[in-house]
């Protein structure tokens, strides 16, 4: 099957291409224009923008904590439409099927679930396998687990740490490694109620800084393309920008990714003791070239926060709306699920909203700032189209700002920012940059050989609507979205890295599981064969 | 100044000049009329003039047990101040110190409709140190504060009107202090029957009528020397030789109509009493009509 997408504006920052022209797809790949030029199918993309499928590097779409959130909030996600025959359960209120459908309709073709406890990796992969259309991946969590902290406590060398990370990535079939409130969650198990970057975990005698730096080094040494993905300490607290600054400084030239930086952009200025510190953070990020961040934009409305930062979720429990929460003391990180309502009349929520936008607009390099709402923590991913519009239009921003409390604007700088993201910058931030960050060489661009993941948008006056409903989306060369609606299912694969741990580490882990749990460590790993279809695609670790 | 003479009483061709105020009303109940009145009297004490008391307050009327929310005897009191902030402060201080403290009392909104609402129970509930309980009954919300004789029930909020008027007045002039007082007392008694209006001074009467300003720096008001009989020969006096004593009645009302009605009732009582046992002349205080937006012409109020 040879497909020609004709006469669209091809926007491919990775190839420095921005021109009206044709794009050719054959099988599951983008190809150079063939000599004979006769397509089986031609789509007239005149007036449209043609981009690679978008990539979301941080969105909580699957796994035990997400499912707990579904079960916790039955009233919040009722289905209101019956399903179309060709897409079972796609209109269920909050299903994996609906997740795949909604992402595809926005032109997203790859999504990373960024926080999976290794013991729940199989569950997460099962959910991802039931998430149609998109490719997906998980990041495995370490940094609060007894085995890993024990290695650090006992002074294990970098090789042992590296092998443990490799074992974990291999066992959980993950694309990368995440650390969440490093040491803080473990400390909470000993009833510690606040935990900073240089605080020391009881029983283990290691600080958060040591944990982050140790794991950062291990990930780097393994050659895993995606740098350590860090959820810092002190999330959500006034004055916590200092924690983020300290963490950025601790990168010391090695790659490090800071997740949902918005939640760390808070000063303690102003009469309410809460203000935007986004300019300070943006300055630090601009200067630290080895650091990447995603924003975790907050948008107004009802949502639910899902986090493996158990300490943070517990500390914030009084803010749950509706008033209920689940806190899980897990085998390592566990999780916390708490419904929350961001209100535009709330001073604090308005500051959060503004901090995110400030970070987007003040960080210069679109290759180092990633587009996320930390779905669903800042907002559901379905809010992305509105967020694109906010970034691309000062007028849209001005309209939103007019609804916010004046006190909130007084402790922020957003009103003075004039930058408007170009289509090219949006394409970079959502395609070229995340593919580079995750080491996905055949995604995020439209050069010959690229995977035929293509999204086409028809720019209109309403930018949010433009991005909400892609005109066409191809996944692996198959057209799955027409005029903003998913036509049928196909199932993508989970992307993973496959570093080989030293056999000695495998033995050591096995001994640990036997001694501590009386279980075979293999019981909690993800066997490839157990999953349906063709579950995994391995991403190379170049080192 | 030409005088209209009615039943021998001269009514000056002048007007009382009054000002916009913020006003509200409370209903205070207790197990007996005696204790309802006690609480009301205490909370409206030292509330003669906003100049020094923060607010002007008084008893509007006593209520029978069929007229109150809890079926007990009650008293309706009115409070007036020049700003919402001040009225709020006075309300919570006075209810907190004088009603909350009074045996068996309860306190309800005496005004349901207004441009704004003031915190009532919502402001003093913290006295209960966490033991306070809110209770919503229909559209009304009450706070219940455990106290040593049971519970103090206090409505959460009360309406406030911005259409209240303060400073309606009558100047009652007679031959002797005795006849002047008799006429003024008669007027006050008649005026008390008028709803939505109070006379905040002692017994409704002020003998030290004031003018704006003073020779002393910082004082905003001083004695109204134009009406002081003992200065008659020393100043450009407003009173003739037949006047030996002047008393004033100041009226605040939730509406301008209430102030006018009170003045009308007072004038009628004075005229009905006649000059022999009462007043020779009735005037009113004003500032030339430039300061207050409400003008009550005595001639128009004379029956």
């Amino acid at each position: 099957m040879l497909t020609r997408i004709a006469g669209g504006r091809i926007l491919d920052p990775a190839q420095s291409r921005d021109e009206v022209g044709d794009l050719w797809l054959q099988g599951d790949r983008v190809i150079a224009a063939p000599d004979h030029g006769r397509a089986d199918e031609t789509f007239d993309a005149g007036g449209c923008v043609v981009m690679a499928g978008a990539i979301d590097i941080h969105s909580h779409i699957a796994g035990a904590n997400v499912n707990t959130a579904r079960l916790l909030l039955p009233q919040q996600h009722r289905a209101h439409a019956s399903r179309p025959a060709a897409t079972p359960l796609a209109n269920a209120g909050w299903s994996t099927f609906e997740t795949g459908r909604l992402y595809a309709q926005m032109g997203f073709t790859t999504v990373v679930e960024p926080a999976i406890s290794p013991h729940h990796a199989l569950h997460a992969h099962l959910e991802l396998a039931d998430t149609p259309v998109i490719d997906k991946a998980i990041l495995a969590i370490l940094g609060n687990d007894d085995f890993g902290l024990g290695l650090m406590r006992d002074g294990a060398g970098p090789d042992a740490i590296r092998d443990h990370v490799a074992w974990t990535l291999q066992s959980s079939k993950a694309l990368g490694l995440k650390v969440i409130n490093a040491g803080g969650v473990a400390a909470f198990k000993d009833n510690v109620r606040s935990f900073g970057f240089d605080d020391v975990v009881p029983r283990y005698g290691v600080s958060s800084r040591q944990i982050v730096k140790t794991l950062q080094r291990a990930v780097h040494d393994l050659g895993v393309p995606h740098p350590l993905h860090v959820h810092c300490n002190n999330l959500g607290l006034p004055g916590n920008f200092q924690t983020a600054l300290d963490t950025i400084a601790a990168a010391e030239g090695l790659p490090l990714h800071l997740a949902h930086l918005q939640f760390y952009g808070y000063g303690a200025e102003g009469k309410l003791g809460f203000s935007s510190a986004a300019p300070k953070l943006a300055e630090a990020v601009n200067a630290a070239k080895s650091v990447t961040i995603d924003v975790g934009q907050a948008m107004f409305g009802q949502t639910v926060t899902i986090s493996s930062d158990v300490l943070r979720q517990f500390s914030a429990r009084a803010q749950a709306r509706p008033s209920k929460y689940v806190i899980i003391d897990g085998d390592a990180n566990g999780g916390g699920v708490m419904p929350y309502n961001y209100r535009d009349g709330s001073f604090a929520n308005a500051v959060q909203f503004v901090v995110g936008l400030e970070l987007f607009l003040l960080i210069d390099d679109p290759y180092r700032v990633y587009f996320t709402t930390d779905h669903p923590n800042g907002a559901p991913f379905t809010a992305y189209p509105d967020l694109f519009a906010l970034l691309m239009s000062r007028d849209v921003r001005a309209q939103w700002l007019s609804r916010l409390p004046a006190e909130a604007l007084a402790v922020t700088t957003l009103a003075s920012l004039t930058r408007e993201y170009s289509w090219g910058e949006i394409a970079t931030m959502t395609r070229a940059a995340p593919a580079r960050l995750l080491g996905l060489k055949d995604r995020g661009h439209l050069g010959p050989g690229a995977r035929a993941d293509v999204a086409i948008y028809r720019p209109g006056a309403d930018l949010a609507q433009t991005f909400r409903a892609a005109v066409r989306v191809w996944k692996d060369g198959e057209c799955v979205v027409r005029d903003g609606a998913l036509t049928h299912y196909r199932f993508g694969r989970a992307l993973r890295v496959s570093p080989q741990p030293d056999a000695a580490m495998t033995r050591r882990v096995a001994e640990y599981y036997d001694a501590r749990y009386g279980l075979d460590a293999e019981l909690l790993s993800v066997p490839e064969a157990a999953l349906p279809r063709e579950p995994f695609e391995t991403v190379a670790c170049p080192r | 100044m030409s005088a209209l003479i009615t039943n021998g009483v001269a009514i000056d061709d002048t007007f009382a000049e009054a000002f916009d105020m913020r006003g509200t009303a409370l209903v205070i109940t207790a197990d007996s009329a005696k204790w309802a009145l006690q609480a009301a009297t205490t909370m409206t004490g030292f509330a003669t003039s906003v100049i020094a008391c923060g607010c002007e307050a008084g008893i509007d009327r006593e209520l029978g047990s069929l007229e109150t929310p809890d079926g007990r005897p009650g008293v309706r009191v009115l409070l007036f101040a020049v700003s919402t902030t001040e009225l709020q402060k006075q309300l919570q201080n006075r209810v907190g110190q004088c009603v909350l403290t009074s045996p068996g009392s309860a306190c309800y909104a005496g005004l349901d409709v207004g441009e704004d609402r003031l915190k009532l129970g919502a402001a003093i509930r913290y006295f209960a140190d966490g033991w306070q309980i809110a209770k919503k009954i229909g559209e009304r919300r009450f706070w219940r504060l455990p106290v040593m004789d049971g519970e103090f029930v206090c409505e959460s909020s009360v309406a406030m009107t911005k259409r209240a008027v303060g400073g309606g007045n009558l100047l009652i002039m007679g031959a002797t202090p005795q006849t002047t007082l008799a006429a003024t007392e008669a007027a006050v008694e008649a005026m008390r029957a008028v709803p939505d209006a109070i006379m905040p001074f002692p017994g409704g009467i002020v003998r030290s009528g004031s003018k704006v300003g003073s020779k002393y720096k910082g004082a905003v008001a001083s004695t109204n020397h134009f009406y002081c009989p003992t200065l008659r020969g020393a100043v450009a006096s407003e009173i003739g030789p037949e006047i030996g004593s002047v008393l004033e009645i100041v009226i605040d009302g939730l509406t301008s109509e209430a102030v006018a009605a009170a003045m009308r009732a007072g004038l009628k009582a004075i005229i009905d009493l006649g000059p022999a046992r009462g007043a020779l002349r009735v005037g009113a205080g004003n500032y030339g009509g430039k300061l207050g937006k409400h003008h009550y012409r005595l001639r128009e109020l004379t029956p």
């Binding site: 009233q75 | 809890d70 519970e151 029930v153």
Partner: protein, 270 residues
């Protein structure tokens, strides 16, 4: 003009969902359109006209002649107007009502008045379990308005009650007022065991005693409370009997001390 009348033709062959049949939703609809509204809850198609004979009338006043235990969600979402049912109804009668009046001249199933926010629900027969209570997964039950049951009520009447009044003339089942958040629940007959279990705030009146008080309610003695007089005045028009009970000297039990402990049970059996 007389009321729009739905006369039950036959026992319902399946449970039916009648939430579409409220004055606001039927306003402007022709009789034929109303008859064609789907009400089935399984795969067998069933329309209003299949189950009911319709007699045209004013849309603001609706009468159901004949009831059945399978008539679910009758009057759910009612916001204005009046619905009268001559007969029994199934689950969730008047769920989420925000105004108007729903009168059931018969028994109601479980979850009657669930999540009521306003209006008056009157049940002349008995009510099933969880009267006014939340559906599974909701954090709040009834949030305003008034429910009056002439007969008895099942277990956990007033579960998670947050605002408004539930008046039960007859007996109530176990754990009446469980998990109450606030509001007022008055029971004329005898209540079952552990009224007010885990209640945080709110008032329960037991005019006929109960099978067993929870040990986590503290006896605060007998009082004539002004607040009870206020409640009596409000309840008077709906239930002179319960109003009279509120005016009696009442023993006050504070609780549930296992929970927030700011609720109370008033008992007339001093």
């Amino acid at each position: 003009m007389s009321a729009l009348t739905f006369t039950l033709r036959c026992p319902p062959p399946q449970r039916v969902d009648l939430c579409a049949l409220t004055p606001a939703q039927l306003a402007g609809k022709s009789l034929a359109e109303i008859a064609a509204l789907p009400i089935q809850t399984n795969r067998a198609p069933l329309c209003v006209g299949d189950l009911f004979a319709l007699k045209d009338g004013e849309r603001g006043t609706i009468v159901f002649e004949g009831g059945a235990e399978r008539l679910d969600r009758l009057g759910a979402g009612l916001d204005t107007g009046a619905i009268r049912v001559i007969g029994a109804v199934g689950v969730e009668a008047g769920r989420g009502m925000s105004g108007g009046a729903l009168t059931i001249e018969g028994d109601a199933g479980p979850y009657a008045g669930s999540g009521l926010r306003g209006g008056v629900l009157r049940i002349e027969g008995d009510a099933g379990e969880r009267l006014g209570g939340p559906r599974a997964g909701e954090t709040e039950g009834m949030n305003g308005g008034l429910i009056h049951v002439a007969g008895h009520a099942g277990d956990r009447a007033g579960d998670r009650l947050r605002r408004g009044f539930i008046l039960i003339e007859g007996a109530a089942g176990d754990c009446a007022g469980s998990r109450m958040i606030a509001g007022t629940l008055a029971i004329g007959g005898k209540a079952g065991a552990l009224p007010g279990y885990l209640m945080n705030r709110g008032t329960i009146l037991l005019a006929g005693g109960c099978d067993e008080m929870a040990p986590t309610f503290g006896d605060c003695g007998v009082h004539g409370l002004t607040a009870a007089r206020l409640l009596a005045s409000y309840v008077e028009t709906h239930s002179p009997n319960l109003a009279a009970a509120f005016r009696q000297p009442l023993r006050r039990y504070a609780g549930d001390l296992a929970a927030l402990g700011k609720g109370e049970i008033f008992s007339t059996t001093t």
